[in-house]
Subunit: 158 residues, 2 copies
């Protein structure tokens, strides 16, 4: 089931890719059923909070008519940033499955750990999935972005 | 001007109080003008992300049609939590004025510091305002909440 749900999160990341967004996707699961799914829409919506996790948490809360998502698990292709990790704590999500780590902004252990801090009022179980495709889709996205930037730069200096 | 804008943030917190929400308010300022204002609406909207700062950042981004709020300052009555501090970093907000600290969940120095971490790609200037009313409105809110809880408990055991 873990691979299935991570693959569904990856399908969300692919939707972000089509929109030229940083390809990150999330699904939220309750009782083995996906109750919310989302992908990064920061550029499309011009909204700095429109990361996949925030959008999915808002959808799940709307569906359950509650801000408490205690019995839910969140699957995400990339380690959440501080904002998203903070939202996971706010929503009291029990377990987070992470497809790949983010050594630049990861807030689930890579840079800081917001999900597991005794000072906060909620502790989240972290499961590292290490899905190769979750990582590759991001590496390819940024490689391609740099390639386009270099091409544009060369074109300008001609 | 700092006192004026913090007072406007406090007016937002008072709107939250009327709705029985934890009284926290925010205004976002650009070129000495308030471009967005919001108060905590977590219970009203059943949305764990509906803190004052998140709602105000989303409004400001919509107004400016950009997720980059570099030239903006944010005034907030209570020290932002990790989610909101993370959103401030995501939005590239330059300066944050804070009315009172939060020793339980503050992510601007009290528990962790998300706004000033060399690993992240943005550093936020923090200005502590120490406004007594920003603190008192929260202390009174929780005191009253406990009083009501005790009263209800006594009523149940009669």
């Amino acid at each position: 089931m873990i691979d299935y749900f991570m693959n569904e999160a990856l399908n969300e990341a692919k939707k972000a890719l089509i929109l030229k967004e940083v390809p990150v996707g999330t699904v939220i699961v309750k009782n083995d059923e996906i109750i919310a799914r989302a992908h990064n829409l920061r550029e499309t919506l011009n909204d700095p909070t429109a990361h996949a996790e925030i959008l999915a948490i808002r959808k799940a809360s709307e569906k359950l008519q509650s801000w408490r998502l205690n019995e839910c698990s969140l699957y995400v292709t990339l380690e959440p940033c501080p904002m998203c990790a903070g939202a996971i704590v706010q929503a009291r999500i029990g377990k987070v499955y992470i497809g790949t780590f983010d050594d630049k902004a990861g807030a689930c252990g890579s840079v800081i750990n917001v999900l597991q801090n005794d000072s906060f009022n909620h502790w989240v179980d972290i499961k590292w999935v290490y899905n190769e495709e979750c990582s590759r889709i991001l590496v390819d996205f940024f490689k391609n972005k740099r390639r386009v930037a270099v091409k544009n730069e060369k074109h300008k200096t001609k």
